[in-house]
């Protein structure tokens, strides 16, 4: 399968904050949505910075559309739409002015499409952006990111701070976007429920290190959590588990194959596991 985005052993150290992004590798195939999950400060924005060249990586390779993107590769950036968390654009502009500025940047800027999005998202084109609500500014950023017909969307916490209804609307827009088979989305978020709805793959990052990348189908159909008593836990084979977390009266154990675990350990309760719970087990629990 061809990849629109590929990271190989990407590392970056910030000596002042003592934070290290440690050998991050993952890939995003064409036509897919990859959810990039991790707690605040896990390294999601740093990784996106390395992908977009806003941060210089210390080592490793990042390939976009099969090529390492340099500063001069403006043709690659033509094919990427970006949305950052918060205020993406100067507040004294109106959406109309933003469109005029963007026309000067993108050869494929589609003013008609942009206006359609403004209408769809109910964004007044003449109002100054600083008078928009937070939800409206995020919608505007998403409209701008989509209006030059990009192939790859990179969304850094684009849905955080939005209410559930707005988030749902945005997720529908993203799903529409990937209907085209050469379109892909990298979406970083700590709102795991959003990713459960749209992502095809989930990459977990914690403390600057990649924990795992799995397909959502694998997570939904195979991954499970075993609720064990102390004695049951001690009887488990370590190679069957990914991580575990001791709680007051039980030990939760994350396993990659719930059915197999149920067959092997008949007296243990095996539950479906949510992304939230996986994240908690991976971040707060201990790795097996």
């Amino acid at each position: 399968m061809e990849n629109i985005l590929e990271l190989q052993q990407v590392s970056k150290t910030f000596p002042k904050s003592n934070f290290t992004l440690n050998n991050i590798s993952f890939s995003l195939p064409y036509g897919a949505i990859l959810g990039f999950v991790g707690e605040n400060g896990a390294g999601k924005t740093t990784t996106i910075g390395c992908i977009l060249n806003t941060i210089a990586k210390d080592s490793g390779t990042v390939k976009l559309f099969g090529k390492e993107m340099l500063d001069a590769d403006t043709d690659i950036r033509e094919k990427i739409g970006v949305v950052y968390d918060g205020d993406n654009f100067p507040g004294h502009w109106s959406a109309e002015q933003l469109s005029k500025v963007m026309q000067g940047f993108y050869t494929k800027w589609d003013d008609e499409l942009f206006r359609k999005y403004l209408e769809k998202f109910q964004l007044p084109p003449k109002q100054r952006i600083k008078h928009y609500s937070r939800g409206m500014t995020m919608k505007l950023a998403i409209a701008a990111a989509l209006s030059h017909h990009p192939q790859l969307l990179i969304l850094d916490e684009a849905t955080s701070g939005l209410d559930p209804i707005m988030r749902d609307e945005m997720l529908d827009v993203f799903l529409d976007f990937v209907q085209e088979e050469d379109h892909s989305i990298l979406i970083s978020s700590h709102i795991t429920s959003d990713l459960e709805k749209v992502a095809d793959y989930i990459t977990f990052i914690h403390n600057g290190s990649l924990i795992m990348t799995v397909s959502k189908n694998d997570l939904v159909y195979n991954y499970a959590v075993m609720r064990c008593k102390e004695s049951q836990f001690l009887a488990l084979n370590r190679s069957d588990m990914i991580a575990y977390r001791k709680r007051d009266f039980q030990i939760d154990v994350l396993v990659p194959d719930g059915k197999e675990a149920q067959r092997k350990y008949k007296d243990v309760v095996v539950d479906h596991v949510s992304l939230d719970e996986i994240m908690l087990l991976l971040v707060k629990g201990e790795r097996a």
């Binding site: 950036r77 100067p90 005029k100 500025v101």
Partner: protein, 214 residues
Amino acid sequence: MKGLLRNNLYGTLSNAKVFAGFMILFGIFGVAVISQSVQIGYVMIGSIGFSLSAIIVAKNEFTTKWGKYKLTLPVRRADIVKSQFLNQVIWLLVGTFFVGVEVGLSWLFHGCPFDQHIAVLTLFALGISMNLFMGAIFFPMFYAGGEERGEMFWMIAILCAFGIDYTIITILNDLLEPGVTTIVFGAVALIVCSMAAFGVSYPLTVGIFNRKEY
């Protein structure tokens, strides 16, 4: 480049409109009264003020994520810097136009306010030179020292520009005999030195900006 210039224009325009209003009122006053110091003040303020609005735009872009967002657009970092230098020159021309109209009208109504006609040339050269030195000092300092200190850097840039021009004029006055030739030579020296500084500052700023992380 078109997008960058439009971006800079929208950014500068709102501040420049306010400043233009002030300059028109000040200009009417300057034309109405016969005062050499008012003329000098008008030329200096006009030459620097518009470009200062342009410089402040660069700083304001980092109060939102726009400064970082621009790096994800299909433009090179060198072009971002180039557009900022160009923007400063454009607003220098706007300022020079205002100043030219005011000085011209004042001259028309009251005659030359200076002992020698040629002194007006030095005044214009001083304004343009201060403007260019200000930009030449501000941009590399701004990107090297951090966007959050933008206000401090433009103040330092203005003071340094004034200091450099003052030094050039003092040296020339010490070295050369007073006269028309000295005035013309002084004006040329100010323009040449400031243009050279502006020219050197551009690749320096690009070099610094290329290494910046956001």
